[in-house]
């Protein structure tokens, strides 16, 4: 069965919510259900992805008024799972296990558990124990070490990364929901900003926020009767590798080298068909490697592509019209799906992409991730 995003919802994004992840998830989920014109009782599936930092779908569905739910799932992981969440919901609907599935991500990513920071003594089990003594256990450091390799092999520069940060920030200035909506950024400011882990400066890193986003996925039987125009899922791709941050064979490439060709093969579409792209951007370098892997740019050309205006309005493809995780806020990539739906409905106001009909949404960085293509026309 063809499936679609039929509803979207979110909370305010802030630096200190003062709320539980459960409360924020309920608000975003109820907003998404209302947006779709559905009743809470129409929802029979729910899923999320988390790092032990968020309420489980069983609690959230209960808290929003459902006494039971036919299918629910909580995957452990990060942005690499967002596309997979949508693809899995579609498969669950296809299999007849549920008719309307809520996907949410709710986190106090700024005031609570922060991915980029370890505050005190800790013990590290499992796959990261070997990196523990060097403290090489936080994403900014992993991704920076990969960016350095790209710089050495392809001659990409910090200014290239800066072009990505600046372009996305400019987009965020037209997004009233963006945490960085009042913080213009130019190259001088970018280059003068403090180092996190060379070659990353603070503006190469996502803006951590508290908040929640939810979307409703439904089959066409439900989608044809909802309040908003359905945003149809055209195809998905996914690749997950356990190679690790030191062991991955070539850090100048990410999961996109497989997820890119796979999604174009599955959909029969290509990069030039996309009107905009919500490119997963935990760091600027993630965008660089993803633009290459999904076929928008030759290796080493991404900085120039952004500098020449090809990644913004009036160019080849608008990249992250909402500002992305870098400038709208780090809701772990589900806000990319929210933005894609908003744009494909034509509801993005000041930042609306002209004639937005097809969009790529990517999710992931490093060895693992996936992507979805959405259309405003039923495939």
């Amino acid at each position: 069965m063809t499936t679609a995003i039929v509803g979207i919802g979110r909370t305010e994004f802030s630096r200190r919510s003062g709320r539980t992840t459960k409360a924020m998830a309920v608000e975003a989920c109820r907003a998404a259900v209302a947006d779709a014109g559905l009743a809470v009782s129409d929802i029979d599936g729910m899923s999320t992805y988390q790092a032990g930092d968020s309420a489980h779908p069983m609690e959230v569905s209960w808290a929003m008024g459902l006494d039971e739910i036919a299918w629910c799932n909580s995957m452990v992981g990060g942005g690499n799972l967002v596309a997979d969440q949508v693809a899995t919901a579609a498969a669950v609907i296809e299999a007849g296990l549920a008719r309307a599935v809520l996907i949410y991500r709710s986190l106090n990513g700024r005031s609570g558990y922060r991915f980029g920071t370890v505050d005190g003594p800790m013990q590290v089990e499992g796959q990261f124990q070997y990196e523990a003594p060097a403290g090489f256990i936080v994403p900014p450091q992993w991704f920076a070490s990969w960016a350095r390799r790209h710089q050495a092999v392809y001659g990409s520069t910090c200014e290239d990364l800066g072009q990505i940060a600046i372009t996305q920030r400019r987009h965020a200035l037209r997004n009233p929901h963006a945490i960085r909506r009042n913080d213009p950024l130019d190259m001088e400011t970018y280059l003068a900003s403090r180092w996190i882990a060379e070659p990353f400066r603070v503006h190469d890193c996502t803006s951590e926020v508290d908040g929640a986003v939810a979307i409703v996925i439904a089959g066409e039987d439900v989608a044809m009767g909802t309040r908003q125009p359905p945003v149809w899922l055209v195809g998905s791709s996914n690749t997950q590798s356990g190679a690790g941050w030191a062991g991955w064979d070539d850090p100048t490439e990410m999961y996109a080298r497989l997820a890119g060709p796979r999604i174009w093969a599955r959909t029969g579409l290509g990069p030039t068909d996309m009107d905009f792209v919500c490119m997963y951007d935990c760091f600027t370098y993630t965008v660089m490697a993803s633009m290459e892997g999904f076929g928008f740019c030759e290796k080493g050309q991404v900085g120039r592509y952004f500098a020449e205006g090809r990644a913004t309005y009036g160019g080849d493809v608008v990249v992250n019209p909402h500002g992305g995780l870098l400038s709208e806020g780090y809701i772990h990539g589900l806000n990319h799906h929210y933005e894609a739906a908003l744009q494909l409905r034509g509801d993005a106001d000041e930042r609306q992409v002209d004639n937005a009909g097809l969009a790529l949404v990517t999710a992931g960085g490093g060895p693992f991730g996936g992507a979805n293509v959405f259309s405003n026309a039923k495939p």
């Binding site: 003594p121 800790m122 796959q127 124990q129 003594p133 936080v138 050495a152 996190i196 882990a197 690790g244």
Partner: protein, 149 residues
């Protein structure tokens, strides 16, 4: 009183003096940490097909053969590196260098670790050798790397 560097809790200079994160050995890794405590860098190797592997595994991921820990030279080259300037994790005084080092024993066999060097002296491809250092006061020891002149 905490010396905050950018207004965030826990980011003060004293964070550098705290213990680094401590590994928790398991059945796959206890041989690695035991050798490290004895001052030896030992890497998991398949006794059948002789392939080295990081991280260690109970059985070889290529041929499912039995594995054992074997001492390596500790020599290699810097595959990539970062200069940590924001004190995100306790245990080392910023700025410090963390590198991904490819060991000479096998193409693609890589470890990460602190590189004890002036950041300006570090480059991709530079030869290094391992040295075993104490992990805070935990009793664990782990490899760090020195530039080979």
């Amino acid at each position: 009183m905490k010396a905050a560097t950018d207004g965030r809790p826990g980011d003060g200079a004293d964070k550098a003096s705290l213990s680094p994160p401590i590994p928790v050995p398991d059945a796959d890794s206890e041989g690695y940490w035991a050798a490290a405590r004895a001052g030896t860098l030992a890497i998991c190797r398949c006794v059948e097909c002789k392939t080295w592997m990081v991280p260690p595994l109970e059985r070889c991921r290529y041929c499912n053969g039995r594995t054992a820990f074997e001492e390596v030279s500790g020599r290699g080259v810097i595959f990539s590196y970062i200069v940590v300037r924001h004190q995100a994790v306790p245990g080392h005084q910023v700025p410090y260098v963390v590198g991904i080092v490819e060991l000479t024993e096998q193409a693609g066999l890589r470890l990460s670790g602190v590189i004890q060097a002036d950041p300006a002296a570090v480059s991709i491809g530079a030869p290094v050798r391992a040295t075993m250092v104490d992990v805070g006061t935990s009793g664990f020891r782990a490899p760090e790397f020195l530039l080979v002149p």
